[in-house]
C-alpha cells in the first residue's frame, strides 16, 4: 500500500498516522500538504485527527474548502480508499463524502479514554480482516464526536450495512451508538476512535492494526 497522510494547518495526529502505517505495518507513507491540487501516486489516503484550521466555525467546516479536498473527493469517486479519523471523520461529513454530522459530546466535555468498539460490518476494505462482532479496544479523544443523522439516513445506513463500528458503551451520545460509517461504495470510512493509536503493545493495544491491515490486503487483492 502506498499511503498518503493529509496535513492541514492544525492537524496533530498526522505524524501518528504516518508512524503507524510506515513503522508498525511497514507500508510506504508520505505527507500531502493541504494546498496540493493532486494526491499523486497513492492507493489510500488518511485524513488524520487534530484541529484543522483551529476548528474555527465548526470542526472540519473550513478544511472542506481546502484545495486538497477536491483531490480527495475525486480520489474517492475513482474508488481510492479514504480513511478519516476523528477530525478526518468530521471533515468527511462536512464535505459530504459521508452523511450526517458530528455534534458536541453529550457531556459537553472533551473525552480521552480507551473504549470498546464492536465491529458491525466486515464487508469493507477497512474491516474485512476482522470478524463480525469483534470487539476492538481503541482510544477516543474528541470534544465533538456525537454522531447525528435523521432517521431516514440512519435506516438507510443500517439497511446498506454501512455502520462499520458501534460503541459498546456510548461515550458521547452518538445516535444508535454509531462510531464509524462507510460510504455507499464502501471505499470511504469515517470513524471517531483512533486506530493509529493502537498499533503496538507499548501503546496499550494493537487492535487498530486490523483496520490498517485490512486496507493493505484489500489493495493487494484488487491489484492482482
Amino acid at each position: 500500500m502506498k499511503c498518503g497522510v493529509v496535513v492541514f494547518p492544525g492537524s496533530n495526529c498526522d505524524h501518528d498516522a504516518w508512524y503507524a502505517v510506515s513503522h508498525n505495518i511497514g507500508q510506504t507513507t508520505e505527507f500531502i500538504w493541504h494546498d496540493a491540487p493532486k494526491l499523486g501516486d497513492i492507493d489510500a489516503v488518511i485524513l488524520p485527527g487534530g484541529f484543522s484550521y483551529g476548528d474555527y466555525l465548526r470542526c472540519g467546516a473550513i478544511a472542506r474548502f481546502s484545495p486538497v479536498m477536491k483531490a480527495v473527493a475525486n480520489f474517492a469517486r475513482d474508488g481510492g480508499l479514504v480513511l478519516g479519523i476523528c477530525n478526518g471523520f468530521q471533515i468527511l461529513v462536512e464535505s459530504g463524502l459521508l452523511p450526517g454530522a458530528l455534534l458536541r459530546n453529550q457531556g459537553l466535555k472533551f473525552l480521552c479514554k480507551t473504549i470498546e468498539l464492536r465491529t458491525e460490518s466486515t464487508n469493507s476494505p477497512f474491516t474485512h480482516a476482522a470478524t463480525k462482532g469483534q470487539v476492538l479496544n481503541l482510544p477516543i479523544a474528541h470534544g465533538e464526536g456525537c454522531y447525528f443523522a435523521d432517521d431516514r439516513t440512519l435506516d438507510e445506513l443500517e439497511a446498506e450495512d454501512r455502520i462499520a463500528f458501534r460503541y459498546k458503551t456510548n461515550p458521547n451520545g452518538s445516535v444508535r451508538d454509531i462510531a464509524g460509517i462507510l460510504s455507499r461504495e464502501r471505499n470511504v470510512l469515517g470513524m471517531m476512535p483512533h486506530p493509529e493509536r493502537a498499533t503496538e503493545p507499548l501503546m496499550g493495544s494493537t487492535d487498530g492494526l486490523v483496520i490498517l491491515q485490512s486496507m493493505v490486503s484489500a489493495l493487494a487483492a484488487t491489484s492482482k
Binding site: 496533530n12 483551529g54 480521552c112 498499533t199
Partner: protein, 742 residues
C-alpha cells in the same frame, strides 16, 4: 509627555529607591515609555529580585546537564544523540482572575519556552491547587467559586494542549482552604531535540535583522508581569483585561513554522515573547549577546489601531516570537512563515550600542542599556525570621476516631485522594503515541521514538508538610518525586522547580522561602537531581492571607523503553511486599498526614521524618527490582499511607489483598502514617526481591497476598478492616464529580 510623579512611580510598582536607581543608570529622568519598560523588567516576576540571592544555593550541574538556569528551559543529555528541554512555570494570578484563559495561556507560554529552543514539545503536566470544592468547603459560595475555577482551569488546559497536539500526561491536584483566594496553576512542559541543535535567545551579529513572527499585537495582557508581582485586593477583578487570550491553533502553526525555519540555518537567535512581551525578548536577546537592539514600533503587526509605543512594548499578546536572522537570508525565513500563514516582518536591527533603542516612526521613544534592564535589576536580601506557622506542635486528643474501614472510605472519597479521572479524561494524554504510562500512575512515562529510551516525569509539592516545616517539607517533596520515578524504574537525573509563596516583604514568609530553597537544595544535591531552571511566584496572598508555602518540583528520569509494571495488582495469589518496611511514626510526625486533615480535621506537629540515605537505597532497590521484571506491580506510599496505597493498587484490575501486620503502632498510625521510603510491590518472586533488598540494605517486609475483590487488613489476627473492593472503588471513582455538584 507627562511629568513622572511619585504616584505614577507607585502605580508602576516601583519603589522610590528603585526609581532613583533608574535615574542613575540612565543619567536622566526616564520617559513614560522607559518607566513602563523598567517596571516590567524589574518586576518580581521577571527579575527574581527577592529570590535570586537564595536561588544561588541550589545545585545546577551534573554531567548530563547541557544547560542550567537562566535560559528559556534547562537541557539534559538523554543519550543516543538526543537531548530534552524542560521547565515548569506558574500562571497563578491570571488563572484566579480568568481561569480558562489564565490556564490556557499558562500552557501556551511554557510550550513556547520549549520550542523556542528548537525542541518539539512531547509532554505537559500540571500541578494544581484550589480551595475546597462545594461539598468540602465550609462556605457554600466559596466552594462553588472554587469549583468554577477548577472547571475553568481544567478546560483551559485541555483547550490549549489538545489543540496544540501535546499530550497532558500527568500532574497532581490538591484542595485546601489555604488556596481559596489564590489557586495555583503550575505547568510543566518537556520537549525533545537532537543534541547540538539548540537555539538560544541571542541577538548576535551587528547589522542582522530583527524579525517579529506570529500573532499580531493587541492591548491584552499589558502589565501582566507587574500584576503577577502584587497581592490580590478587592480591586483585582478590574485587572481582568491584564489576562491574555490564547489561540492554540496559532501556536501550533508557530511551532511548525519555527522548527522548519530553524532548519534553514538562517536563524541566529530566537526568543518567545512571554512575560513583558516585546520588551523582555528584545532587551534579553541583546543583553545575552552584548549587543544593542533597535526596533521601530511602526513595523510591529498590530491588532488594533491607535496603540502607543508604551502599549505595544508592554502587551503580552500570545503566540509571538522575536528572532534574529542572518542578514541577506531574510527571505528564507519569510517563506517558511508564509507557508504556515503567519506574519513575519523585520522590525529592527542588531546594533553595536548595547542599548535597547525603541523608535516610533523614526523618533526615539526609549533608549536604555540592555544590561541595565536584564542584569541591573535590584537584588534584595529581604529580612527573614522564623517561618510563619499557626499550627500547634502538640497533637490534639484522638477522640471518637472512626473505624479504620470508615477512615479509608473517607480518605479515598476526599478531593485530595479520589480518582482524578474527571480531570484527566478531558486531556488528550495519548496524542503523538508516545505515552507509555499516562495519568493515574506514580510517574508519567513518555518514550522517545528515536532513541529507544523513555523519559519518566513527576510533579510533587506537599504544601501541608511545608507549612509545618518548609525545610523538611521541601526535602520530602524531592524524595517523593524521585521515589515516584524510581518506582516506574527510572533513574532521576534533573529537576525544575516552581516556588509558590506569599509576600516576601513579610519576614516570616521570606523565611519560608529561604528554608524551602535550602531544604530543596540539600535534597537535590543528595539525590543528584540538579535544578536546571524554574519559576518563582510570590505575592500569592489575598487580603493578607498567604497560601501554604508551596514549592512544586518536577523531576525527570531516564529508563529503557518497556511496558511498565504499573501500580495495579494483576493476579491473585501473589506475594505483597512492603519494600522499605512498615516504617514508624508518632503523633507529632502524624500532624501533616491526610488522616490528620480529613479525619481529625486539624494540622499540627511536624511532617514525617525522612532518612535520605535509607530513601536513596530503597529507590536503588526498587529500580533494580522493576528493571529486572521482578515486580508485577509497584506503587509508592505517600498521601494516606499504607491503606490508601493498598486501595489504589487494588482498583485497577479488581484484585485486592489480604494483609497481616505484626506491629505495636496504633491502628490509625500503622495504616495511615505517611513515612517515606516505602513501596508496595506484588510479585511471584518474593525471594528475588528479598535478595535485592538485602543487597541494598533495606527491609523487604512480606505483608500478605493478593486476592480477588477484597481488601483485608489484620494486625496480629485482629481485624482492622475488611472491605468489598467494588463499593470502595465506586466511592473513589465517583467522588470528584459529586464534590463539584452544588
Amino acid at each position: 509627555m507627562s511629568v513622572i510623579t511619585p504616584d505614577i512611580i507607585a502605580a508602576h510598582q516601583l519603589t522610590a529607591g528603585e526609581y532613583d536607581k533608574i535615574v542613575s543608570l540612565l543619567g536622566r529622568e526616564p520617559t513614560w515609555t522607559e518607566l513602563g519598560i523598567f517596571s516590567v523588567m524589574w518586576s518580581e516576576h521577571c527579575s527574581y529580585k527577592s529570590s535570586r540571592l537564595h536561588l544561588k544555593k541550589l545545585p545546577t550541574r551534573s554531567k548530563l546537564v547541557l544547560q542550567g538556569p537562566g535560559e528559556n528551559a534547562g537541557i539534559i543529555d538523554i543519550g543516543g544523540g538526543y537531548a530534552i528541554a524542560f521547565k515548569i512555570e506558574s500562571h497563578n494570578h491570571p488563572s484566579f482572575i480568568e481561569p480558562f484563559q489564565g490556564a490556557a495561556t499558562g500552557v501556551g507560554g511554557i510550550l513556547r519556552d520549549i520550542f523556542t529552543m528548537g525542541a518539539r514539545p512531547i509532554a505537559v503536566m500540571d500541578a494544581l491547587r484550589f480551595g475546597p470544592l462545594t461539598r468540602e468547603s465550609e462556605n457554600p459560595q466559596t466552594g462553588a467559586r472554587n469549583a468554577r475555577i477548577l472547571e475553568g482551569v481544567v478546560s483551559g488546559i485541555a483547550h490549549y494542549g489538545n489543540c496544540f497536539g501535546v499530550p497532558t500526561v500527568g500532574g497532581e491536584c490538591v484542595f485546601d482552604p489555604s488556596y481559596n483566594g489564590n489557586p495555583l496553576v503550575n505547568v510543566f512542559a518537556l520537549g525533545v531535540f537532537k543534541k547540538g541543535e539548540v537555539f538560544y535567545g541571542k541577538a548576535e551579529g551587528i547589522g542582522n535583522p530583527v524579525i517579529y513572527v506570529g500573532a499580531k499585537t493587541g492591548r491584552d495582557g499589558i502589565h501582566g508581569a507587574s500584576m503577577a508581582s502584587a497581592e490580590f485586593t478587592e480591586e483585582s477583578k478590574q485587572k481582568r483585561p491584564n489576562v491574555q487570550v490564547g489561540d492554540p491553533f496559532l501556536e501550533k502553526l508557530l511551532l511548525e513554522a519555527c522548527l522548519e525555519a530553524m532548519k534553514t540555518g538562517a536563524i541566529v537567535g530566537i526568543q518567545d515573547m512571554g512575560a513583558a512581551g516585546l520588551t523582555s525578548s528584545s532587551c534579553e536577546m541583546g543583553s545575552r549577546a552584548g549587543t544593542g537592539v533597535e526596533i521601530d514600533m511602526q513595523y510591529v503587526p498590530q491588532r488594533e489601531t491607535g496603540m502607543t509605543p508604551y502599549e505595544i512594548l508592554l502587551s503580552e499578546s500570545q503566540e509571538r516570537m522575536l528572532l534574529v536572522a542572518e542578514k541577506g537570508r531574510e527571505e528564507e525565513v519569510f517563506s517558511v512563515f508564509r507557508k504556515w500563514g503567519l506574519d513575519a516582518v523585520t522590525i529592527g536591527v542588531v546594533t553595536g550600542t548595547g542599548k535597547l533603542c525603541v523608535k516610533d516612526h523614526g523618533q526615539i521613544v526609549a533608549e536604555i542599556p540592555n544590561h541595565a534592564l536584564a542584569n541591573e535589576a535590584p537584588l534584595y536580601d529581604r529580612p527573614h525570621t522564623t517561618p510563619y506557622r499557626t499550627a500547634p506542635m502538640e497533637a490534639p486528643a484522638f477522640d471518637n476516631l472512626p473505624t479504620p474501614q470508615r477512615a479509608l472510605e473517607i480518605l479515598i472519597s476526599s478531593g485530595d485522594l479520589c480518582s482524578k479521572r474527571w480531570i484527566y479524561e478531558q486531556y488528550d494524554y495519548m496524542v503523538r503515541t508516545n505515552t507509555v504510562e499516562g495519568p493515574g500512575g506514580d510517574a508519567a512515562v513518555v518514550r522517545v521514538k528515536e532513541t529507544g529510551t523513555s523519559i519518566a516525569m513527576s510533579l510533587d509539592g506537599n504544601g501541608r508538610y511545608c507549612s509545618l516545616s518548609p525545610r523538611e517539607g521541601a526535602r520530602l517533596i524531592v524524595a517523593e518525586c524521585c521515589r515516584n520515578l524510581s518506582t516506574v524504574g527510572a533513574l532521576p537525573v534533573a529537576a525544575t522547580n516552581n516556588l509558590n509563596f506569599g509576600n516576601p516583604e513579610r519576614p516570616e514568609i521570606m523565611a519560608q522561602l529561604v528554608e524551602a530553597i535550602e531544604g530543596m537544595g540539600e535534597a537535590c544535591t543528595f539525590f543528584e537531581t540538579p535544578i536546571t531552571g524554574g519559576n518563582v511566584s510570590l505575592y500569592n496572598e489575598t487580603l493578607g492571607d498567604a497560601i501554604y508555602p508551596s514549592p512544586v518540583i518536577g523531576i525527570v528520569g531516564l529508563m529503557k523503553t518497556s511496558v511498565p509494571a504499573g501500580i495495579a495488582f494483576r493476579n491473585p495469589g501473589r506475594s505483597v511486599i512492603l519494600l522499605g518496611g512498615l516504617g514508624t511514626s508518632d503523633r507529632i510526625r502524624f500532624g501533616g498526614t491526610q488522616y490528620a486533615k480529613q479525619i481529625i480535621q486539624s494540622l499540627w506537629g511536624l511532617p514525617p521524618a525522612l532518612g535520605m540515605d535509607y530513601e536513596k537505597r530503597v529507590q536503588a532497590a526498587v529500580r533494580e527490582i522493576v528493571a529486572g521484571g521482578l515486580a508485577e506491580s509497584a506503587h509508592d506510599l505517600s498521601d494516606g499511607g499504607l491503606a490508601v496505597a493498598l486501595a489504589e493498587s487494588s482498583f485497577g484490575n479488581g484484585i485486592g489483598a489480604e494483609i497481616d501486620l505484626a506491629t505495636d503502632l496504633a491502628p490509625e498510625i500503622a495504616l495511615f502514617h505517611e513515612g517515606p521510603s516505602r513501596i508496595l510491590i506484588s510479585t511471584d518472586n518474593a525471594a528475588g526481591i528479598e535478595q535485592i533488598a538485602r543487597k541494598h540494605g533495606v527491609e523487604a517486609l512480606k505483608i500478605g497476598v493478593t486476592l480477588k475483590e477484597k481488601v483485608v487488613i489484620r494486625n496480629r489476627a485482629a481485624s482492622l478492616l475488611n472491605c468489598d473492593l467494588d463499593s470502595l472503588r465506586q466511592l473513589w471513582e465517583g467522588s470528584l464529580e459529586k464534590l463539584l455538584q452544588s
